[in-house]
């Protein structure tokens, strides 16, 4: 696999013509977006001023004007950037993925199926809306791998009957083959209870849960501090989570600087990296040629594809007994 610096060279040399073309397009789109926002802002202020002049009061309609302007702004923004967005994905993201690994296929509008997300059992809340994009799938060293951006939401109603949407998970969802044979399920979640209440009370709270499998205490203090493990089988959880695997997962957490959720179920490893945003989206207000932007795309792509290498999922040391 190419290193991050090789990919940066590739980004600036091989993709230079496409970047120049897209950068011009970005300037044009940015101008249109700013004009749209300017017109919408001015129009909203005019309407508010007109209403205020006629009644000399502040009322609910001002809020509705704000909501309406935001909705029209959001819709208009998506329309204006859609061409630029698909150009960016085809001309920049696709070649970058192919440069990292030829065996991978990229589908900008597809995503990991909801059934697989729910099969991971990483999130308890009911999923009412499930969206995603940027699906990458294929084989790396004989290991099947797929990942995409995912946004899973939960709907709730308040006492007045108003609908609210809350995010269950937004970020990268990765599914890969796991080379060990296991029957049960092991979940690794961020350790919130121990961080909030300390190891004694936090540990007690974790062991007295009624919605999860058995608590599995791990014999690595650093890992135990960062994560909490639940599993259907105490021995199997430790068979999967060797000391080396725990260190690799800790490193993954440090590298991504995000909350990590890992599920071992059905001979698959499923990893959810909570970036809390849509990745691989083009920027309209910052240059594609800036090093921070370029490195952001490269780092995320490389670390997602590099999961197989990082966690050494491609090593098959054993014969099934």
């Amino acid at each position: 696999m190419k290193s991050a610096s090789e990919l940066t060279d590739y980004y600036y040399t091989e993709l230079y013509d496409s970047l120049q073309e897209l950068e011009q397009e970005r300037h044009a789109v940015r101008k249109k977006v700013l004009t749209l926002f300017g017109i919408l802002g001015a129009l909203s202020l005019l309407i508010i001023a007109f209403i205020y002049n006629s009644c000399h009061c502040f009322n609910e309609s001002f809020i509705w004007i704000g909501v309406g302007a935001t909705a029209i702004g959001g819709f208009g923004y998506r329309m204006l950037v859609s061409g630029y967005r698909s150009g960016f994905k085809e001309k920049i993201i696709r070649p970058l993925i192919e440069a990292i690994e030829k065996e991978l296929h990229y589908a900008p509008d597809a995503f990991i199926p909801q059934s697989l997300f729910q099969f991971s059992r990483l999130f308890d809340k009911r999923v009412d809306r499930f969206r995603g994009n940027d699906l990458v799938r294929g084989q790396i060293d004989g290991i099947s791998l797929q990942f995409s951006d995912i946004h899973a939401e939960h709907r709730s109603r308040d006492s007045k009957g108003r609908t609210h949407w809350s995010t269950i998970f937004q970020g990268l969802f990765i599914v890969a083959d796991f080379n060990k044979h296991f029957k049960g399920r092991t979940l690794i979640l961020p350790d919130l209870a121990e961080n909030l209440f300390g190891s004694y009370i936090g540990g007690m709270l974790q062991s007295r849960n009624f919605t999860k499998d058995q608590l599995v205490k791990m014999d690595d203090p650093a890992f135990e501090k960062a994560f909490v493990v639940y599993g259907t089988d105490q021995i199997e959880a430790r068979y999967i989570l060797t000391h080396t695997m725990m260190q690799r997962l800790l490193k993954l957490k440090q590298d991504t600087k995000s909350k990590i959720y890992v599920s071992f179920n059905g001979e698959k490893i499923m990893i959810a990296v909570d970036y809390d945003k849509d990745l691989f989206e083009p920027t309209v207000f910052a240059s594609l040629l800036s090093i921070e932007q370029a490195m952001g795309y490269i780092r995320t792509l490389r670390s997602s594809i590099g999961i197989v290498e990082e966690l050494k999922l491609n090593e098959k040391l054993w014969s099934k007994v």
């Binding site: 105490q234 021995i235 199997e236 430790r238 060797t242 000391h243 054993w318 099934k320 007994v321």
Partner: protein, 184 residues
């Protein structure tokens, strides 16, 4: 009335403590059964391994005989958990020596059957290591409960005694990193 509430609370606390002690003891027994199962898988592999390598390994005849002897001891019915733990340690070290010796015989190293046995043994060792770690955690929880106040009072009355943990050597804590081996 107040006295009745206090008595009821004390009874509930005693019941909870009693149940938690029994649960911890059962957890230890339950996981030990898991260890037993994987140890038996390893014992089943030993005769195959010995018969595959013995014609090549003339100098290591002593260690092959020792591992066979240890296996027959471990397979005897009615041996205690402590004896099983002690025998496991010796078998692990004897099998380790055989595997190191295999490296000195190129024919043996390339033998399909021996390669398969080696991989199977690594797999079982990984399962045993996992079972040992699970057992040690369960024993630590149990030992803590029988030594800490206030559960120690009840544990004393129930004649619960400390249990022994499996000692894992530093080498075994690390998985074999094939990539690093090839780079050496």
């Amino acid at each position: 009335m107040t006295a009745l509430i206090i008595i009821a609370v004390i009874v509930v606390i005693i019941v909870l403590m009693y149940n938690s002690l029994v649960a911890k003891k059962n957890q230890v027994d339950n996981i030990f059964a898991g260890i037993d199962a994987v140890l038996k898988k390893r014992y089943n592999l030993i005769p195959n391994l010995v018969s595959s390598v013995q014609q090549y390994m003339q100098h290591e005849r002593g260690i092959l005989e020792k591992v066979t002897e240890l296996r027959s001891q471990a397979m005897k019915p009615g041996i205690s958990d402590e004896q099983k733990i002690a025998l496991d340690k010796q078998i692990t070290s004897a099998l380790g020596s055989i595997m190191v010796a295999v490296e000195n015989y190129p024919d043996l190293k390339a033998n399909e059957n021996v390669m398969h046995l080696q991989r199977s043994l690594s797999e079982i060792e990984a399962q045993i290591a996992a079972a040992r770690r699970a057992y040690n955690q369960a024993v630590t929880d149990y030992n803590n409960a029988i030594e800490m106040i206030p559960t120690n009072i009840l544990a004393n009355m129930m004649h619960y005694t400390r249990k022994q943990v499996f000692e894992i050597t530093e080498d075994e804590r690390k998985n074999v990193d094939v990539g690093a081996l090839f780079k050496q």
